[in-house]
Symmetry: C2
Subunit: 203 residues, 2 copies
């Protein structure tokens, strides 16, 4: 079965499994994801995944964890862009969030499904926490500059993330009534920021 040119030890089967799993996930959904199929596709035996993921759920959790880590990296990058006004920065983060959602819809769904487990693996938990830890920083700066209404910055920030996540959830194929989220999100974020800003009356 094994091509004989490939060494007995695969080398980095864990990484390859995650890669293949993500591909299969986006291609055919969680329900159709089979460990044995992954093994076949990678040319290894059907039991080898067990050395890296004790159970199928463990693999899914690992997948969700790297998902949140990538999400975190994107958000961090978007947040890092300094020197702009708050609205622009917040919109940037929201669009980064949206971009991830449009690029990896199945993975994002898996991430939030994994989060629903009764007890989550610590890595998943921390990855989840840190992934949503960026927005508050911006908002806090906004508050210190007197441009954002007072209140727990974490909660205020959550509003932005929630809007994007909710729009993604409610949309079908990244569209709402035929209009792309890429158009809708900035518009909606504009309304929300309008609500979070101190005394304004632009329309």
């Amino acid at each position: 079965m094994k091509p004989a040119n490939r060494p007995y030890h695969h080398g980095n089967l864990r990484q390859e499994l995650l890669r293949a799993a993500e591909a299969a996930l986006e291609a055919r959904g969680v329900q159709q994801l089979s460990l044995r199929e992954l093994s076949r596709k990678l040319g290894v035996s059907h039991a080898s995944p067990q050395r890296h993921f004790a159970t199928k759920q463990d693999l899914l959790n690992a997948l969700a964890t790297v998902g949140f880590q990538r999400f975190d990296a994107i958000a961090a990058k978007a947040v890092a862009a300094r020197g702009q006004n708050f609205n622009a920065r917040l919109t940037k983060v929201a669009l980064a969030h949206l971009g991830f959602a449009l690029k990896h819809p199945a993975l994002l769904a898996l991430m939030f499904e994994a989060k629903r487990q009764r007890v989550l693996p610590p890595e998943l938990h921390t990855a989840l926490q840190t992934a949503f830890s960026h927005l508050p920083r911006i908002l806090q700066e906004g508050q210190e500059a007197g441009k954002i209404v007072p209140g727990d910055p974490y909660r205020l920030a959550l509003t932005i993330a929630a809007v994007v996540q909710g729009l993604v959830a409610i949309s079908v194929d990244g569209k709402i009534k035929g209009d792309s989220l890429k158009v809708i999100v900035p518009e909606v974020i504009g309304h929300v920021l309008n609500g979070l800003s101190t005394g304004k009356s632009k329309v």
Copy 2:
């Protein structure tokens, strides 16, 4: 196997299957949902579900459909309450949405997961559409009264629904950093409504 006091024909196996499936879903998650287990629990043969749901996914879709229908009913009721100011009515709808989410978390997750299918069954599609058709009506009235900023009422309404749905998705066990969504949601909705209102400067 069959107790002999129960007639050969169950009578309303379809309904019972849906009921049992929802219970099992909330109790143990989608992954652990087994048609055969449902059959055993209802005391019927393992093949009988096929008469009502050609495939397991069909059952899940039916479950999602009734979910959206119940969701729709709740939203409709909340919307129907007339004679109040717009903020109160919109908040009411949001809280109804939240109440559903807290009561049937697994079902709600299933609903939005089902929605991700490449092609959705027509009943599911229409149930989904109508479930989010109530908010726009209120907002439109608000616009006609000049209290809500102009724009497609459907999009504006979506903002409310998206916030709730997103908060639910991001929260863990109905809580965010230890604070119940029941406290957070009205607060956040307040901010968003502030952003959707015409000329205001409260705060």
